[in-house]
């Protein structure tokens, strides 16, 4: 960090937005304490920090969803008093949310102009179409026809359509909140290109992400949030990965970052799970795999590769899935979650909202949801036993025992994920843990904790299959890496022999499919 405060690229650039001393508290807890920063014209400004460092609150204030207790937003020399998102939009501040706000059944064109302030009462289709085309082409979406319904697009394309919509409203400040959480590598590249295109037009982008690589490759400057404060704004060229992590975690915790701690787990000789010829119509074809006790298999694939569906099918959530699944020597049925669970497969979804947590129910109830049999006698809940089991699981995953009674929605994202994983741990009868994106939306510290838990479960003799679209995670956690593309296995490689470039290539391109034993899989179709 020897460079001067203002990098050469910054000189002469005008300030678009000045944030002064923003504070916001929810009851006794201060979400933001005096945050000040400025956004310049034509810059990509990264925001990063722990889960719960105040990023979300900050973004919500910018887009008018939350009103600050104190402080000011100054744009063009005027103080903004945003009462609602419409007013933010009128000032040219727009957000591409984690949850997309497109209407799936409407066409791309309709979505681009949905909610726009500029559609005349009698709207002239031809002109709108031309404008929509321009916007889409500008974002590298030349191949997407205007008339196709949005639900037929890939997630990454939808995100770009949402960006097109916001640009169509002449947004001057575009906020991207964790835009790449659900995207594949190729899709991320396109979002990046789109962001660069946007800033080249002189507009500004706020890029919220906990993926440090993205901050480095995309942003001009980055502001780090910690405990509700902006602990500093730096040009990214002043920082390296290590110093950025140190900023995010603070001085004390910064000591042991870098290498992830790992628990040794030994792959045992006995086979835990055999999957023969698993098929999910339209999603997975001829998936065969063998997993030993204590072994962690990582399924690497983009969204739509079928990796997620393999796990869902094993969890009994896809009734039309067909195939032989042999767990601990016994053929099991995967026609329902009950059969799968009784057969020894513990599935943990990647979707906390839809298939994971019971948000308003207490942490204790969430932790014990799959073991109601265990905590009841003759149909009655035995409270003491429920409490004991929940406390043990909470201790295991590092959630404070004092929170057992709180609704799980009041925990941070990382802790929610831990609760979800904890529910599946140490369950008598579980042989295979099927984990879909086990660290989705979790910050660095939480991610390491979760990896430790998975390794611990393997060390206890469980077989683990997990899916991840982040190949870093696949490399960190797997003993064996299975790459998937378009529903088929492309390669099966022990992690130690794997090389990043090859895995990446296998994730993104079709190659002659190879089974776990090296034999050719699946007849040519």
């Amino acid at each position: 960090m020897v460079e001067q405060q203002d990098g050469p690229a910054d000189s002469g650039s005008r300030r678009l937005l000045k944030v002064e001393d923003l504070s916001k508290s929810y009851g006794p807890i201060q979400a933001l304490r005096g945050v000040s920063l400025d956004i310049r014209d034509g810059e990509v400004h990264g925001i990063c920090g722990h889960n719960g460092a105040g990023k979300s609150t900050f973004v919500k204030i910018l887009v008018g969803l939350v009103r600050p207790d104190a402080g000011a937003l100054v744009m063009d020399g005027h103080e903004l008093h945003l009462q609602n998102p419409q007013q933010a939009q009128a000032h040219g501040i727009a957000i591409v949310d984690q949850e997309l706000s497109l209407v799936p059944a409407l066409s791309v064109e309709d979505n681009v102009f949905l909610g726009s302030l500029h559609v005349p009462l009698l709207h002239r289709r031809r002109r709108l179409q031309r404008k929509a085309r321009q916007l889409l082409d500008g974002l590298d979406l030349q191949h997407v026809p205007l008339s196709v319904p949005v639900d037929q697009l890939a997630i990454g394309e939808r995100q770009l359509v949402e960006m097109a919509r916001l640009l169509g409203r002449d947004a001057r400040l575009l906020i991207l909140d964790e835009p790449t959480a659900t995207l594949s590598k190729g899709e991320i590249e396109r979002v990046f290109r789109a962001v660069r295109e946007v800033v080249s037009q002189g507009r500004s982008v706020i890029y919220v992400s906990h993926r440090l690589d993205e901050i480095f490759s995309l942003c001009d400057r980055v502001t780090v949030f910690r405990d509700g404060q902006a602990v500093g704004t730096h040009g990214v060229h002043e920082l390296d990965r290590r110093s950025l992590i140190a900023l995010i975690l603070g001085e004390i915790e910064g000591e042991h970052v870098g290498e992830e701690p790992a628990e040794e787990h030994e792959v045992r000789p006995e086979t835990a799970v055999e999957i023969h010829n698993l098929n999910v119509p339209g999603r997975v074809r001829h998936f065969s795999l063998e997993v030993k006790r204590g072994e962690i298999v990582g399924l690497a694939g983009q969204i739509g590769s079928g990796a997620s569906e393999v796990l869902r099918a094993l969890g009994g959530l896809i009734p039309e899935a067909r195939g032989n699944v042999i767990v601990a020597g016994r053929r099991i049925r995967i026609s329902s979650p009950r059969h799968a669970l009784d057969g020894g497969v513990m599935y943990v979804s990647n979707d906390r909202q839809a298939e994971g947590l019971f948000s308003h129910q207490a942490v204790e109830r969430n932790l014990t949801a799959v073991r109601l049999r265990e905590i009841s006698r003759a149909g009655m809940i035995v409270r003491g036993r429920a409490r004991r089991i929940a406390a043990r699981l909470a201790g295991l995953v590092g959630v404070a025992e004092g929170r057992l009674g709180s609704p799980v929605a009041t925990l941070s994202g990382g802790n929610q994920q831990k609760v979800m994983l904890g529910r599946g741990l140490e369950h008598g009868g579980t042989v295979l843990l099927a984990l879909d994106e086990p660290t989705r939306g979790v910050d660095i510290g939480g991610r390491a904790d979760i990896h430790l838990l998975v390794q611990h479960a393997a060390a206890q003799g469980n077989a683990v299959i997990f899916a991840s679209t982040e190949f870093e995670e696949v490399f960190e956690l797997s003993d064996v890496i299975v790459t998937m593309f378009e529903g088929r296995i492309v390669s099966v490689v022990p992690c130690k022999e794997a090389n990043v470039a090859a895995v990446l290539a296998d994730m993104t391109t079709s190659r002659s499919p190879v089974g776990p034993d090296g034999s050719a899989q699946g007849a040519p179709s």
């Binding site: 508290s25 929810y26 009851g27 006794p28 807890i29 201060q30 979400a31 933001l32 722990h50 889960n51 719960g52 460092a53 105040g54 979300s56 609150t57 969803l65 939350v66 009103r67 405990d227 509700g228 969890g315 009994g316 959530l317 329902s336 979650p337 009950r338 799968a340 669970l341 599935y347 979804s349 979707d351 839809a354 298939e355 994971g356 947590l357 019971f358 948000s359 308003h360 129910q361 109830r365 949801a369 799959v370 109601l372 049999r373 009841s376 149909g379 009655m380 809940i381 404070a400 609704p407 929605a409 009041t410 925990l411 941070s412 994202g413 802790n415 529910r423």
Partner: protein, 323 residues
Amino acid sequence: MPQDPRLGRLEGVVRVQTASVAAVALVVSALLAYGAVTTDGFLTLANFKAILTATSFVGIIAVGMTVIMLSGNLFSLSLGTTAAVTAMFFLYALQFGLGLAIVLTLGLGALIVGLQGIVVGAWGANPIIVTIGAGGLQEGVALWVSGGHSLLPPTGETSYLHLARPVLGIPFGIYVFFVLAVITEAVLRETRFGRETFLMGENRGAARAAALPITLITVGVFAIAGFCTATAGVLIGAATANGSLLLSGTYTYDAIAAALVGGNAVTGGRGSVVRTVIGAISIATVSDMLLLRGYSTGIQILVKGLIVVIVVVLMNLGRIWNR
């Protein structure tokens, strides 16, 4: 554990929602207190009995409605019809003796509504549509079988009158209402089935992924609602001794109103039978007050509607205030 500001936000939401519940309670009690003091004849024992009598039938059905609501299946739109149908059946079945008639009627109620639960649970059908359809079916069958005539108890049969007679000066139905409410609350709080009901009501997708028996729970929940409704049917039949579909009255809507005014989440997962009991008594009290003050039936219904709307609005204000 580091402090998480978002946690603060959520706790804020929870707190404000608790506050809005408190606000509702405060407004209702203030209203009732004002009414109590200013309405002639309100603060009399006879009037309290009248309120409780008015509460009991609706309250019993509302207990069943609450279980459906907590399980995330919104509500049934034909429990009133089922109450009338089971009342008719009870009067018909009296010829087999009182005890058997009660058992058969309760069984029939659980069966009729439980079957609807199979459709909702196994095929994921919309409960509102299913229960509307089932209501039509029940009315049709009842009219067809009865030939359009009212059902009267067998001549000379008086055993049922015990059910319509007050015990220790309080209507028998009130005892039934409170006992049923306590048992149902205990089932919801203390049993595995109750825990499953709350979890499913909170998030059906997560319940499925956690291998909970969705169909079984749904059938159970609807069967309990049918059982409760048939209990009301028995009491209604005994009280009127004249069974026809007209008995269905406004029970369906009143039961939904009681559950909502009590502050149960219409989306499921949060609430209790106790809340419903409070809701039912509050509505009956307000209606009674209006009656004593000489307002017309129209006004009474209007105020009932207003209460439901106000409570629902207050319950939802929390989210907006918290911004």
